[in-house]
Point group: C2
Chain length 269, copies 2
């Protein structure tokens, strides 16, 4: 069956490198028979800030809790329409691609707002349905972004530090938290300061990658089974098994060992 | 001379734990003779999304680049008033406290938007003025936030992974990038699921800490001198000096060694 791809796209300029990367994804994936939908957050004037206006009929206005109010609103169909539309797109999608320029080592605010507002408690996760048992465990997701820094600068010996560390809260704390299997990020290193020819090569490499994207292996995270159900600590037998190994298990669950190199950058690491 | 403190505060509810933490900071620091200003982002309806509307007289509307346009606008006094007002507050401040609930392992979108829009290229950093040579190297900053997870879950053996990893892109990639000396974060672990008594203890501990806050030592980051000026790689002699050591230098610049424990959580680690 044809796969459905949702692209969450955040750039102000339709002539930008990010726009070109998004357009390439639409083109190549469509040519492969995928059905591709784009949420163009700036063009949609997508509301970034999580407020009481996101909920029809707030229950406790005097002691407002966004998490609880939005959870109840999701259950009862009282979320604002811009949120429910995005949620419907996620439900349909087999793969979500986030296309954006990295701002301050993270997502641009408008895209963070999409995360904060659309991934509602209940819809995107519950206390039980998280990580490998997450709501979206039958879906894939990936980050595709541009940087201002060169690749060497975002390394364990570079001025900006290891990119695997920077990616952990985004890929584990957001994507894998909801259950998504996470494809290796597509990182366009410093296209703004690159020569035209190098920018073209980057885009060609992306087009080539897109052709096999849906068959790629995903990044390694730990199964929820590895953790004690009550303490959420790694079970003793898992820790013992790793004790003689050189590296920790993931960039975040590293057991005070060296981080497994490329853990958040390459599949199977 | 009396110190000036700016609190960037993001919570929708003035009866929340975050509001109480902000109020405690205002009260204790004011009682110590500090002059304290608060930017209450939700109450201000602070614009989160970086758009062309932030710039008066956009120069290249057809190929809009936010970074370049906002840089030029800052130089020429053409940034929107909400941005310039916040920039004036930063210029005045000796210490900035960010008070917020952690959303998805990061800042709430409205606070990320404050970062994206207010910390303009030129005003907050340049190619030369970054990290230990950053524009704000005579100022301090800190994160003060609530979590939903317990402390044990955000550890090197816990389900959410090491909090030091999650903090790196925020504290190094934003605060230290602009030169701020970063105070240890104030983390309120899961107050929403804590007993009343424990919430009270957390708040008391914060009030006690606030009394000595301005004299605290700051977190350890590397001096810009440690890096080659052209490649932005750690200089060979710095690497050699660390070669026999057990740990890397920081959570991000870890040299493929175990991360220095508590590097982003405690001063001097």
């Amino acid at each position: 069956m044809a796969k459905k791809v949702l692209i969450i796209y955040a750039h102000q300029n339709s002539a930008s490198f990010n726009a070109a990367a998004k357009n390439a994804a639409v083109e190549v994936l469509t040519a492969q028979g995928c059905s591709v939908e784009v949420s163009d957050l700036y063009a949609m004037n997508f509301k970034a800030t999580a407020t009481a206006e996101d909920i029809k009929g707030v229950k406790n206005a005097e002691n407002f809790c966004y998490l609880e109010e939005s959870r109840a609103a999701w259950e009862e169909g009282r979320l604002s329409e811009d949120i429910t539309k995005e949620q419907a797109k996620i439900t349909e999608a087999d793969l979500i691609i986030f296309q954006f320029p990295m701002y301050w080592s993270g997502l641009p605010a408008v895209m963070k707002g999409w995360i904060d507002r659309v991934l509602t408690y209940g819809f995107a996760y519950t206390q039980e349905k998280r990580y490998s048992q997450g709501v979206f465990k039958d879906k894939k997701a990936m980050l595709s972004f541009t940087t201002r820094s060169l690749e060497s600068m975002f390394s364990p010996t570079g001025i900006d530090g290891d990119m695997n560390v920077t990616l952990w809260p985004l890929q584990n704390g957001i994507l894998h938290y909801c259950g998504f299997h996470v494809l290796a990020p597509q990182i366009f290193w410093a296209p703004a300061s690159a020569a035209d020819e190098d920018r073209k090569s980057m885009m060609e490499a992306w087009r080539t990658r897109l052709q096999g994207l849906l068959e790629e292996k995903t990044l390694s995270f730990l199964s929820l089974d590895c953790f004690d159900e009550k303490t959420f600590q790694l079970k003793p037998d898992v820790q013992e098994k790793q004790a003689s190994k050189e590296f920790g298990l993931t960039a975040g669950i590293h057991l005070n060992k060296p981080l497994p190199p490329h853990n958040q950058m390459k599949a199977g690491c």
